[in-house]
Symmetry: C2
Subunit: 332 residues, 2 copies
């Protein structure tokens, strides 16, 4: 199977009607009709074998996740998905593997009306790079820099499941089969919070998706908005698979785990009802987990303070994931 047959068989699909895609896979460029008056949102994410996924991963899950992490970036901006490109480097064209990858990819794309419109295929170490395009009205994007002092801090869904699965895969912690299965699902089939992101336009101030660890990702909001924050450890929504873990481990998994693809966002206390309405209409649970404070003049916005239910500060480390630094604590 050659490169062009591979593209035709697995990646060239009829475009859904009303997609606004004037030209899809198969020319030098894809052509898309922007919706008048909208801003274009664009994000790229690269997934590398052994780094972002294990070589044994179900290829359907890999296809799903590669697109999901990109849609999650659109969600964090409150942007509506329009289309995506896939650049794929793979050691050899295995038909069953590619068929499953394409199935996972197209299924998630169809659910979000976000078709594959182009890309590239090459031989090489396994690597998937997706670029996703979305739209958002001017002034309505949820930016990291838009948080305000006094804002509530919220998070969608639950935290820590994906990281627990990774730790079990690495043989670092044991887990009951039922917990491992549900944690593994969180790791391999994350659900991008697109509907919540759209519903939070005009309600939330700032947002980010939790990819490297909740506390580290919150740090990006704090630095961009020049604010401090407190996070209430006992208000954090734990993934069900974490229910039987020791308290300290559970907190680390939730605060520093990463790969959650939940939305972490801020909104003024006056909009609590609107946040809950956005959560309800998008069928996405949300939890209020902290508060933002002014950052004293001349002080660098630091990591958020983590407090227990009695308001006592908890010592970390809750290190976030950094691709070029040592891995987070192995005992997380």
């Amino acid at each position: 199977m050659g490169e062009f047959e591979l593209i035709a068989r697995f990646f060239d699909r009829p475009l859904p009607s009303g997609s606004g895609v004037a030209l899809g896979v198969g020319d030098d460029c894809a052509l898309i009709e922007p919706t008048p008056g909208q801003r274009l949102a664009v994000s790229s994410d690269m997934l590398v074998e052994g780094r972002h996924f294990l070589s044994t991963v179900d290829p359907a899950a890999l296809g799903h996740k590669a697109l999901a992490v990109n849609l999650s970036d659109l969600a964090a901006c409150g942007a509506r998905p329009r289309a995506f490109t896939l650049a794929l480097s793979l050691p050899r064209p295995d038909e069953a593997w590619l068929g499953a990858l394409a199935t996972g990819l197209h299924a998630l794309g169809e659910r979000h009306r976000c078709p594959l419109v182009g890309g590239d295929t090459t031989a090489g170490p396994l690597n998937l790079c997706i670029t996703v395009l979305g739209e958002v009205p001017p002034g309505q994007a949820l930016l990291r820099s838009a948080a305000q002092p006094g804002d509530d801090l919220w998070v969608s869904g639950t935290l820590g499941g994906a990281r627990l699965a990774l730790e079990v895969f690495r043989g670092r912690v044991p887990a009951a089969a039922v917990d491992f299965d549900s944690a593994r699902r969180a790791m391999e089939w994350p659900e991008p919070r697109v509907a919540l992101g759209l519903a939070l336009r005009g309600v939330a101030h700032a947002a980010i998706d939790v990819s490297d660890g909740a506390l580290g990702d919150l740090g990006h909001i704090l630095r961009a908005s020049r604010l401090d924050a407190e996070v209430w450890a006992d208000a954090l929504p734990a993934h069900p698979a974490l229910a039987t873990r020791p308290l300290d481990e559970r907190r680390r998994l939730m605060l520093a785990g990463g790969d959650d693809y939940e939305l972490l966002f801020t909104a003024p206390p006056s909009r609590r009802d609107a946040v809950l309405a956005a959560a309800a209409c998008s069928h996405t649970p949300v939890h209020r987990i902290g508060r933002l404070h002014p950052c004293p003049q001349g002080v660098q916005p630091g990591p958020a303070r983590v407090l227990d239910a009695q308001g006592r500060g908890l010592a970390g480390p809750f290190a976030s994931f950094d691709h070029f630094k040592a891995e987070p604590a192995a005992d997380a």
Copy 2:
């Protein structure tokens, strides 16, 4: 140096005024203002070490080429560059190497008013994936499917230089130092024909950029437009470094070499003056190298026939590059 410091140091640059980029590097998404009434053109290309470039490549040249091959796709559609994203997987963050890569990348982006607006950085085998965004008025994109019977076939610049350099690097053919230097420049610093692509709007019918080999890339136009073609071997513009090669080798390098990033395009004979005017105003040499013919009903559009100056057919093979098939003949 961590992931975020790396991005800040090498990839986050002030946006040029009037870029229409509302938000660049550093949030979940970049935000771009589309020009009203334009179609969005999008293309992704992935470059893998050992496949698309040698590990010893000058990183400035690599940065240049990674963006150049993407801009070349925009050129082939007649689209004007707007912005690009870079996803980069690299084994370790080497500051000198990254600095040079960024220099090559930003310099070409600046010349085309096409800023880096976002992307991703991760550890892994060296791999660069660029997605470029451009704009073209509705109905004016140059499509592979728009060639007409009777069209002239044209090509910009010269062919074969990049492939000659590759063959010398591989130790398969010798070359004088002066020829190798100039061929190597063609391979490492290709100049995307953006200005020519823009000037050919409304003049050319179909276009493609020569990445896998002129004859193979022409095949994409023929299949998409359901046409046949003749190519005049003696009218092909050879890269100067090919001047002393044997005739047969020179033809193979030009027809099957690949990595040229010239524009191969078709236009009606009535528009020859307009083609030459487009070439002149974009300061890009062009050569007329063949003609398109109707494809008999029921016959699959095949590879173009290659004719010598006496109209005699030349036997191939002039195999094009395919990432999942055997490499083109080593004696090319």
